[in-house]
Symmetry: D2
């Protein structure tokens, strides 16, 4: 499985329609670590107006995935466990991920999500992920 | 914590901007069970064109939440564990949730996500959730 | 990976010193399902005198593992998520496990733990597990 | 809920029959952190002779619990997610836990398990836990 560079991971990020829609930006992806950001936008709320758990999970999972890609090539997630510590309320959100263990058959990662409001950054969720390297690497669905 | 009817839960679903955007429909919500559906649409893909893990998680979590609301009133999720069994590829998706245990301080639920393609329904992910009843119930953010 | 019969799984159970010490008995293991039992004994308590979370986890994990062995040969667990629904208080305990999805590279399972007191059986915990088939199958450590 | 000192937590550890049997020692418990150790002994093996997943889970959960007790008083665990990174093979084992977020209704923690062999310490498992403070604090079961 070829390991991807940060530029290639940023390009991979753009192939995912949901990542484009949500505005995910790859801030860092190298050496088993990744940082991902997205701005708040009004279509991402749960009923109380905070960031929806689906977006919280998407950011935490994608950051783990990109961290894994720097260590083991393209992966798919087989398990994710998310702890929601506090309401995800902010102007923007930043997920930071680290590979815990990178094996031939499985990659383990963990990530933290921060809600950013002005100068203040609050830890709002944590996650762990089990991922599996894909034989043959990235196969983005071709679009006509 | 007042328990909500299916009609009230469908209305609660509409107060969440992300649920409206993604097209979540409450098919059932009563007696500790809930069924939620959404159609595939092209802004929901991950890099290979399947339903994004964030949407998979959102459906599984929201279904657990609505099942819990029928038993214990409005809740927030504090923990979710998702197992991704197969690529989520379909024309539409259906999450089925059940309350496992409903306590005063915590509610436990589990859910399954099916990808639907024509007449075929495939189990693609499972989840468990730990939820906490909110004192005072739903407080949707007012919108001007 | 050779699939094991219930008799072989009962023998595998006896090769694990902790399973022998705790008194695990294989009640069923076939067709992707397994049932495991153990009696209460006084060295298994947590501080309040209920079954220790470590034993709860051991039963839930081992049952998932034996269910997987009937479908995919010997496995190791890479991830387990346990929800503790109620105090595990009983004369004996019974774990029931089912394989959710059996793949070449990963097996997914789920299990439920019941505390048994006289005629009453109470659901006290649930678990999900991600397991990986071992190439070459069981390799019990030889004992001199 | 009264917060306990390290001495009180070491005493609480001794009230759990399983902790005494397994030889858990409280090395540290203060300021939202805890370290727990146990020696290998031959009744704790799984089928390949490594530390049983039940003991791995017990150490990770108990360490999280003791870290939480220093922040929020006595707790019970409602959810634990464990990732098994490598075979737990060593002369002794050390679990290190930290409180991630301590609330009135829930406490979140995470822990890491190291297998120690001579001078070498290997990360073999990680866990996250959701815990709930017990009203009235510790109520060890009285023994005649």
């Amino acid at each position: 499985m070829p390991i991807l560079s940060q530029t290639e991971i940023a390009a991979l990020n753009e192939t995912a329609s949901f990542n484009r829609w949500a505005g995910f930006t790859v801030v860092k992806a190298q050496d088993g670590e990744a940082i991902l950001e997205m701005p708040w936008h009004p279509n991402c709320g749960q009923y109380a107006g905070h960031l929806h758990a689906g977006l919280v999970s998407a950011l935490l999972d994608t950051a783990c995935g990109f961290a894994a890609v720097t260590a083991s090539g393209v992966v798919v997630t087989s398990q994710m466990s998310v702890n929601f510590l506090a309401p995800a309320e902010g102007d923007s959100f930043r997920a930071e991920a680290t590979v815990t263990k990178s094996g031939r058959r499985q990659v383990f990662g963990e990530s933290r999500l921060f809600a950013v409001q002005g100068d203040t950054s609050t830890l709002v969720a944590t996650a762990t992920a089990v991922m599996v390297p894909i034989e043959g690497g990235a196969k983005p669905k071709s679009e006509p």
